[in-house]
Symmetry: C2
Subunit: 289 residues, 2 copies
């Protein structure tokens, strides 16, 4: 059971952020650790202002985990502040100096969360630049949705046909270290049909057919996709298989979700497990004092 790390925000309603990521990792048989970059106050109805965690705490957390529970894979989500982007970049730079020699390459998937699904901006313009210039060159994969891809590639995306050019533009402008190329999964959840487009580091183009699931339980689908994609890469899937598997995982997690809350409810992250085998006595007595 390998260890994977999520660096992301915190969502009290467990639909997104590190709580969701830890469940996705568990559903793939992986042990998850977590570094929180910001506390959001949110429920299924929407996101209120986020409270960034101080960069010094983020840095100390990453160092502490690295010493004791070094991950074989990392998922990066919401980063909350430019200082956090800097600290996380420094951490990964150190990792990249050693990871080819000692423990093998640590797989890193970055979900470039620029705004929440309810429309709130989570990263400012300077943050986007920093993300693209400093962090993208250090990671293996990014998983932007259409809107994020448009911002990151500086191209308009009117529909499905615009995806390949935008991905090529983003890949070409990212000088990945040490001389590699950025892998991109552009998630087309808002397209019809909701197909994803994969551009691999070697320049292979792959369309991944999606299916529309009719449900209100759509909170954190992007988080779940990127964590599932990372999980499957860590477990040895090829990129295309990992993206396909992650897509199926998310679709099933939407399909089997119980409607919860007044807005867009959380996914059923643990669907790959059967019901837990806990026996509880059916005594009517309750503990209420």
């Amino acid at each position: 059971m390998q260890t994977v790390l999520t660096i992301a925000g915190f969502d009290p309603s467990s639909g997104a952020g590190i709580s969701a990521d830890l469940m996705v990792f568990a559903a793939h048989g992986l042990f998850g650790t977590a570094c929180i970059t910001g506390l959001t106050v949110q429920s299924t109805v929407g996101v209120r202002p986020a409270h960034p965690v101080e960069a010094s705490v983020v840095g100390a957390t990453l160092d502490c985990l690295q010493e004791d529970l070094p991950p074989v894979g990392i998922k990066i989500g919401m980063l909350s502040s430019s200082n956090n982007i800097r600290v996380i970049s420094s951490y990964i730079e150190k990792l990249r100096l050693t990871d080819r020699d000692i423990s093998g390459h640590v797989i890193i998937v970055l979900d470039p969360v620029l705004r929440s699904s309810s429309g709130r901006e989570l990263v400012d313009y300077a943050g986007v630049e920093l993300l693209r210039e400093r962090l993208f060159p250090l990671v293996d994969w990014v998983t932007p949705n259409i809107e994020e891809l448009a911002i990151l590639s500086d191209l308009k995306i009117a529909g499905r046909d615009d995806l390949p050019a935008a991905c090529w533009t983003l890949q070409n402008r990212t000088a990945q270290l040490p001389g590699g190329r950025l892998g991109i999964v552009a998630t087309g959840g808002h397209l019809d049909p909701p197909d994803d487009f994969l551009l691999t580091p070697s320049g292979e183009e792959i369309w991944l057919p999606g299916e529309r699931v009719e449900t209100r339980s759509t909170h954190g689908t992007g988080c779940a996709f990127s964590s599932a994609f990372l999980s499957r890469l860590v477990l040895g899937d090829s990129p295309a298989d990992a993206a396909r598997g992650a897509k199926l995982y998310v679709a099933e997690a939407m399909r089997t979700a119980v409607g919860r809350g007044l807005g867009n409810g959380p996914l059923n992250h643990l669907w790959p497990f059967d019901q837990p085998n806990i026996e509880v006595s059916d005594a009517a007595e309750r503990s209420a004092g």
Copy 2:
């Protein structure tokens, strides 16, 4: 699938705090939400300083969750600051005003975490007083270990025989609202044999035999016990059955844990689940760029 809430600290290594609590809830078939009171920087080796979350963020989080995903049970763990104790007490006071009329009594279990298992003080003296005077009267159960019980009852506890008197003292000095009595599970994990002592709100005394599990995986056993105890109460267990079941749950989680990290590793919180049913292609190709 009912919703339960944990109000506790955050542990990046997932062994304790809200990450562990959410796993315990899931292992009991419950949906968990979480409010973080403080960020600790810790691994299996020990706890470094905690960073309290601002009371205003804690309050906003509790209100946000209550509006959209009201819990039927609450577990309270590390509180990090006196201001957090005040905000949480206010939240529960409001809950107690309405919960008998509308949705039934919300079961609340408080794990009075006063210091970490590695010995660091997590609550100062004023915090202990506030906890005992303001929060204890509002909850149904507290789950102190021997050391915490000694502090809370102001009595010396040299061994097993001292537990009942200390529990009676603590129960008698707590004027639970509205006129009820505080239930206490004194966890004897450091006794030999590691038996627990249960004093119910109605004054029943019950000894719960424990077993010593030989393992280094002991990180967060107190967190796991209190969350499992709450889970079973919510599911309808009697207090004695809930405590017995929670004890068995923790023992099995220790027994089946994989040694992880250099110190005291996390429990196997998800043992009640079988292996996840995720197929991963065994393609040797890795995503490394």
